[in-house]
Subunit: 415 residues, 2 copies
């Protein structure tokens, strides 16, 4: 494969994670090292920054601040939820991207995101190829939801799982303080895949976890749910149930829809969910008549870098690094993925999967990892997830508060 | 002062904190060392365990597990919210306590709690004295709310402040990811005192904090609140407002009361609050019409031992230790308190304050530490609180999840 000289651009897309910037650090530090990469740009707000020529010159950043990106949560360059139209319907955006890439001689495009973003990558690459513009396109995976196809797990999931497991252990102890009955309903992220919700089982494996776990992979029948809670409550007086925000009733409605008339819908047609814990806590209170608590871990799940998994930080960094190396070696139209080596000890290798195979597929929790009753997960899940939360990332501190990266964000003048 | 030989008992009361068991560790390890203390009992669920003779023999615990109590959140012995009646109204409980203390030869009583618990301590001690039963009674302070009179700060507050400051920094970054307007309303604990809420200013001192802070010390006028939010929103497009759960409107109603008909009231007549963030987020959405988020840090504020302040852990341990030493030396009817030494460097000394002076007084945030507009705190608060969050307690890990104490809890046979 011949050497391709030119600039590279990296963008972040979709919901952030605790470790999304670790991948950025991997891309930037590796790209800066490569002779064939003449300029390293960061796109402000992903594809939107490309369309609007809002670039940062990453070569201007201090290497220490780039290093700090590894422990700085949330998309440092800004993210976006912007869906490209199908090229047959409207090719305006594609033309514009080609124009911008030509103007800045961008020959490497790295895009960090989930399902939708891999689709975006794929569409852009196909258009550039058709137009005869040589550009290597690589996807860097990212999502707390762990629902990407073709990879053992996704960067971001391990840290979300570690936070959920850790605070669930703490909530477990808190729920046992008084000698009165208490039902605690915890709501976790996860629209269609229950990986984050299931990770509360890691707390259970340490004897400080939930009694019941409900994933969106199975419908939640409200009467059965109340029966499940009541059975544990009658036996022990204490119940912790963890429920995914995306759990639906057998008739296909989201839990909060049982209470609300309308829900906000985002650009991808995803409904904005909330209120599962509060709704179910009220149901339990009214039907069982006991003391209840509803807790929503909210966006701490995706932003609590102070509790990130070191394994996740290192793998996320490595995913960014691998994307650059592979592209420089001539690869294009792939997403970096993780492959678990066989054997008792956890070893994670990177591999490349075709973007077209990843885009728009969702990987859910395997049916056989969910218990027959649909209210817990099996040991197989714990064996799968436990290695992913190992190690503490320990961000550098300043006055005992995390010292997050402070990028200069030097704007590239528009050509 | 003559030596007093006999058993000691320690109980935990009220809402737990991340470091409440550090004080227990201080009491137990010190009491076990003392020759004049013949038995070390732990009361199950505080005063309730005493009334019902439900004691644990703490001398039976492994020293390693007692050490682990320092980093284990939530009351390991169980807590209670039980209000003793005035002795003139009904002395049944007091008679019973005297009877139990006599039966087990309990000569040292250590009680860990907040305002109400110091009142309980004081009442019991007065009754025992009047009955001619020699028993030394010491209060060990504890409350995330930091509202105890007579002490520079309370064990538990520093860790709550550290958690709130840390996750608010993370939420700050998360809120800046998209290039669209966004208002985030964060609800923190604090019924009548705004110390926890104010600690979000520590995040602001690092450039990653809220724009607006509302303490329960000042009434919140809903129209003024909306104007405050709108002013920041119009200027920057991003707003983070932190509001205490206990904030009231000028006519004396709690914020969620504007929306709800009834609120649950606990044994002390405290209203159980919730829903401030959700209520205010809806108001902002309806009146300003922007994208909003409501986040409740919920009980993670008092249980997130994984993010505890090492200073707080050590001081909490020392408070327990000091209580035992002072009692053995002949002191009674005091609460251990903290005194900050004068000078630029933070040095915290323990002192003793009379229980009668502490009981039922609430220490609120000084008026001069709240800005004139009532929507932020001054630098003085930051200077006060910053030393209290220093150091990471770093609980020992097992599979990268916290290894919390596993007490044997050997029940003492009833006599």
């Amino acid at each position: 494969m011949s050497e391709l000289r030119g600039a590279c651009i990296f963008g972040q897309s979709g919901g952030p994670t605790s470790v999304i910037n670790a991948s950025a650090a991997g891309v930037f530090t590796e790209a800066i090292k490569q002779d064939c990469i003449t300029k390293v740009y960061g796109a402000a707000h992903g594809i939107k920054g490309i369309l609007e020529e809002m670039f940062y010159d990453m070569g201007e950043e201090d290497s220490y601040e780039l290093e700090l990106l590894k422990t700085t949560p949330s998309s440092a360059l800004g993210s976006v939820r912007y869906k490209l139209k199908d090229v047959e319907v409207d090719d305006t955006d594609y033309k514009r991207i080609l124009e911008v890439f030509q103007k800045y001689d961008i020959r490497y495009f790295f895009y960090n995101g989930g399902n939708d973003s891999m689709d975006t990558c794929n569409k852009i690459s196909k258009y550039l190829q058709k137009s005869g513009y040589e550009c290597r396109v690589m996807g860097v995976p990212k999502t707390v939801d762990n629902d990407l196809f073709g990879t053992d797990h996704t960067p971001g999931f391990g840290s979300a799982a570690k936070f959920v497991a850790t605070v669930t252990m703490e909530v477990f102890l808190d729920a046992r303080v008084y000698d009165i009955g208490m039902v605690t309903i915890i709501e976790t992220m996860g629209r269609n895949a229950g990986w984050i919700t299931a990770s509360s089982a890691l707390a259970a494996s340490k004897g400080c976890g939930p009694d019941l776990i409900y994933l969106p992979e199975r419908a939640l029948d409200l009467n059965k749910f109340i029966d499940d809670v009541k059975a544990v409550y009658d036996r022990t007086g204490k119940v912790i149930a963890v429920v995914s925000e995306g759990t639906k009733t057998p008739d296909g409605r989201y839990i909060p829809e049982l209470n609300q008339d309308s829900l906000h819908v985002d650009a991808f047609g995803h409904k904005q969910l909330s209120g599962v814990a509060v709704f179910l806590a009220n149901e339990v209170k009214n039907r069982i008549g006991c003391k209840v608590r509803g807790i929503e871990y909210s966006l701490l799940q995706r932003s609590a870098a102070h509790c990130a998994s070191l394994t996740d930080v290192n793998e996320s960094f490595s995913a960014g690094q691998t994307a650059v190396r592979a592209a420089v070696e001539g690869k294009s139209d792939f997403m970096v993925a993780f492959e678990r080596a066989p054997g008792a000890n956890y070893v994670c290798n990177t591999k490349l999967v075709e973007l077209s195979k990843v885009a728009n597929f969702e990987k859910v929790v395997p049916d056989e990892w969910i218990t027959k009753d649909g209210n817990f997960v099996t040991e197989d899940f714990v064996r799968y997830a436990m290695p992913l939360i190992q190690g503490e990332s320990a961000p550098p501190m300043e006055d005992s508060l995390p010292r997050f990266a402070r990028l200069k964000k030097v704007r590239v003048p528009k050509l």
